[in-house]
Amino acid sequence: MTLFEYLHYIILPVLVISAVLILWRFIKGPSIADKIVALDLLITTGIGVIAVYSIIYDHSTLMDTALILALIAFLSTVALSYYLEKRKRK
């Protein structure tokens, strides 16, 4: 088994299985905070997926996307929790 096969058939599936688990939590909640955490984690996992993928296809340019994901995931978490606190509870 070459490194690429290993990454392709073992590592990537592990990462996406993680993603499915995270998705399960996302859907289940129960609180909105859980969903936000799940989204954040999903994006982090996505960074991992992209990193592995860029090795498999030997294209370092894909890493830029990972960088953007990291930057922006943070912003969305900030915004969502900002909102969470700010909204009036009814």
């Binding site: 993603a19 998705l23 996307t65």
Partner: protein, 784 residues
């Protein structure tokens, strides 16, 4: 000739600016315009009666083959003289009749443009030009009928008249275009030479139908007649002008003009006979049941028009002759009677014939005019009316079919018209003067002279028919396509069947006059039949139409955005689905597809989960967060399939959208479950089919061969020519940089829009000012 026609229009434009000048005492000067024109046309008599046809053509719109082609032959000359001659008298009469009226200048303006339009109509040889003037008569008569525009009845009549003549006008247009399709020309003269070809054409029937549509509406033939009595709301000079001599005769003119082109076939002749026949009898009967002088005159006018149509339909030389004479007869006596009625109305302020009698004691010259006109209308010698009636009977007797029925109809009509003429022209002036009119003032010269002149002309032409014989009548008959060389007009035709019929007519009619007195009772009697009268049927139809229009409009434009979207999508689904079912191959070449891997399937599943979660969650915030999941999955798909730039942009923008949502969300209320199960099911089915169609479409496209020519060009030139290695970016800033420039403009506009939307608060007063007041009031009402 063009100048002559345009004079009317120029004068009315002139009046817009110099109206004040013609409002006062100088208003009579405006009658110089028609007088000049009358004299101008008069001087053509020698040429025309010599058999010449004067053609003038001015280039206008050669691309349409539309020229300002004019033709002065007997027919158009006769009408031109009537238009300008009676026009002159009406103009003069008006200066006194509407003396001091606030809008006298406007009135002259309308009148002058009407005259111009009418002249153009009768002179035009090009069918489009004819149509143009035809419509101009409709529109200027709209203004004339609606002259008292603050009166609702006036407005309604103007609308009705415009509506009926308007649809007729369009019918004329269609006819013109159809004839052009058949003959390749708009020139009536040229069509004349192709008459046989036209009649053999498969569309002949349609062409006839279109021409009838125009003529019958304009000339108030049954069942389109009802606009004409309504049009009596107009000031009397208008009635005189429009309804005696000119506009209503335009339809007759059209039929006469087209007789040599379209006539000769049974469809043409029989239709005219039947429609003209019904009209003349129907309206003649109606005259008995009217008490308003103008009403009586209106119905007798319709009847006379029926006679003219009928005569045209007979299609013989005798009939044409009768028609030609009757045109003049009618113009003279009917104009007189209208003017007389106008004077009575002007002086006594009533037109109710039951309240009028003995006025000759006050206005003798008017009385003389009225009585002379009545006699002419009754066809009593030695007026020209007698000649007209004799010729009519003569022509009818020699008709080819159902002579008996035709004779009964025409005699009955003539009897009733005699009655009507007497009621209008004699009754007001005979008998005892009622006290209420004892103080009535004598009308001025300018008022009584025009009717008297016209009445006297009727007498003169009767006594000396040779004056008009070769000058006017013969050329008309020739223009209608019959041989006129044998024609010889004389008052006395000898003692024959026609003369007997004349005697019967005069006898029975006079008896009727003494037996039946016009009364309100009679008027109410006929009112019972109103519900089946054409105008009421049309009115009903109109109501139903408006109801249907309302329903149709509100059915589609019902205020619910989701219904609009549904309809649009349904429309798309049905059409695209229809083609798809017939054409799609449903085959997929699996070899050309890329392999599916676990992580791709998972990403797809996450995407789908995100989508459905967005759709079905009850929390808006959760939906927005789920959009983040969707955005991430799409971003990953872009990464997998070689689009890092896309992935970056897609994800950044998705996040920004989420932030935007978050910033406004907490101001918005919570989701409500607003739709019921049925609605959701229906929407679900529609959306699913739509989605399915898109999927099938996508697969179908994927099975097509692919061309990467453009992409290859970019790739080859990206670095060498455009100095960039990221081809996508090079496309954005260079190959397709124009797109990008517009795109950032779009963004800028959105930003400005957002800024304005959030920051701009109109002040209270401005709010009111721009929210449509009426709209608000209506809504308030609805809420209560």
């Amino acid at each position: 000739m063009l100048t002559a026609i345009l004079t009317g229009f120029l004068f009315s434009i002139f009046l817009v600016f110099a109206g004040k000048f013609f409002k006062g005492k100088l208003s009579i000067l405006s009658s110089l315009v028609p007088l000049g024109l009358f004299l101008y046309f008069l001087k053509f008599i020698p040429e025309v009666s010599g058999g010449e046809i004067i053609m003038r053509s001015y280039e206008w719109i050669p691309s349409f083959n539309v020229d300002l082609g004019f033709k002065l032959d007997g027919l158009s000359l006769l009408f031109s003289l009537m238009i300008t001659g009676i026009g002159f008298l009406v103009f003069a009469y008006t200066s006194s009749y509407l003396k001091g009226h606030e809008y006298l200048d406007r009135f002259y303006g309308y009148l002058a443009s009407f005259m111009g339009a009418m002249l153009g109509l009768v002179l035009a040889d090009n069918m489009i030009t004819l149509f143009v003037f035809w419509e101009l008569t409709s529109i200027s008569s709209f203004f004339l009928i609606g002259f008292n525009n603050t009166n609702p009845a006036s407005r309604k009549s103007a609308m009705t008249a415009l509506g009926i003549t308007g649809i007729g006008g369009l019918s004329l247009l269609a006819g013109a275009l159809l004839l052009n399709n058949i003959t390749g020309t708009y020139s009536i003269s040229e069509m004349l030479t192709m008459s046989e070809m036209i009649r053999a054409n498969e569309f002949y029937f349609l062409a006839v139908l279109f021409i009838f549509g125009a003529a019958f509406t304009k000339s108030a033939q049954f069942p389109f007649h009802f606009w004409l009595p309504g049009a009596m709301k107009a000031p009397t000079p208008v009635s005189t002008y429009l309804h005696s001599a000119t506009m209503v005769k335009a339809g007759v003119y059209l039929l006469m003009r087209f007789t040599p082109v379209l006539g000769g076939e049974s469809i043409w002749n029989n239709s005219l006979i039947i429609i003209g026949g019904i009209t003349m009898v129907y309206s003649a009967v109606h005259t008995i049941f009217r008490t308003d002088l103008k009403g009586i005159l209106a119905y007798s006018t319709i009847s006379a028009l029926g006679i003219l149509v009928f005569l045209t339909g007979l299609g013989t030389q005798a009939a044409f002759l009768a028609a030609a004479v009757f045109v003049i007869v009618h113009a003279l006596y009917k104009a007189t009677l209208f003017l007389v009625t106008g004077i009575i109305d002007h002086q006594t302020h009533t037109r109710d014939v039951t309240r009028l009698s003995g006025l000759n004691k006050i206005m003798l010259p008017v009385g003389i005019a009225g009585i002379l006109a009545a006699i002419s209308s009754a066809g009593i010698p030695p007026t020209i009316g007698f000649l007209g009636k004799e010729l009519t009977y003569e022509a009818s007797l020699h008709s080819e079919t159902v002579v008996i029925i035709i004779m009964i109809a025409i005699v009955l009509t003539k009897i009733l018209l005699l009655y009507a003429g007497f009621v209008a022209g004699i009754k007001p002036f005979t008998g005892k003067l009622p006290d209420e009119h004892a103080n009535t003032k004598k009308p001025g010269f300018i008022l009584w002279f025009p009717p008297l002149l016209l009445a006297l002309l009727g007498l003169v032409f009767g006594v000396a028919p040779f004056i008009i014989e070769s000058a006017l009548i013969k050329p008309v008959v020739e223009a209608m396509g019959a041989d006129a060389s044998e024609i010889h007009l004389a008052l006395w035709h000898g003692f024959n069947l026609v003369f007997i019929l004349s005697l019967i007519t005069i006898g029975v009619g006079t008896a009727l006059y003494f037996i039946i007195k016009p009364s309100e009772k009679l008027e109410q009697g006929i009112a019972k039949f109103d519900s089946i009268a054409p105008e009421n049927i049309l009115e009903k139809f109109n109501e139903i139409f408006v109801t249907v229009a309302n329903f149709w409009t509100n059915f589609f434009q019902n205020g619910y955005l989701r219904n609009y979207i549904s309809i649009i999508i349904l429309f798309l689904v049905v059409l695209v689905g229809y083609i798809m079912i017939g054409n799609t191959s449903y085959s997929i070449d699996y070899n050309s597809l890329s392999k599916i891997t676990v992580y791709e399937i998972t990403t797809t599943l996450i995407l789908i989960a995100g989508i459905f979660y967005t759709v079905f969650t009850q929390s808006r915030l959760a939906a927005v967060v789920a959009m983040g999941v969707v955005g991430l999955s799409i971003c990953l798909i872009f990464v997998f399939y070689s689009a890092p730039d896309l992935a970056m942009t897609q994800f950044s923008i998705d996040t920004l959208t989420v932030i935007l949502f978050v910033l406004v969300l907490y101001k918005l209320p919570k989701y409500l479950k607003l739709s019921d199960y049925k609605t959701r099911l229906r929407d679900g089915i529609l959306s699913s089919i739509f989605g399915l169609i898109i999927t099938v479409l996508a697969l179908e496209v994927l099975s097509e061969p692919v061309s990467k020519e453009v992409g290859d060009f970019y790739a080859a030139n990206s670095y060498i020519e455009a100095h960039g290695k990221n081809v996508v970016n090079v496309i954005l800033v260079d190959f397709r940089g124009a797109d990008t420039l517009i795109e950032i403009s779009v963004l800028s506009i959105a930003a400005v829009g957002v800024f304005g939307l959030m920051k701009l608060r109109l002040k209270m007063k401005d709010r009111l000012r721009y929210a449509d007041r009426s709209l608000n009031v209506e809504n308030e009402k609805k809420k209560k």
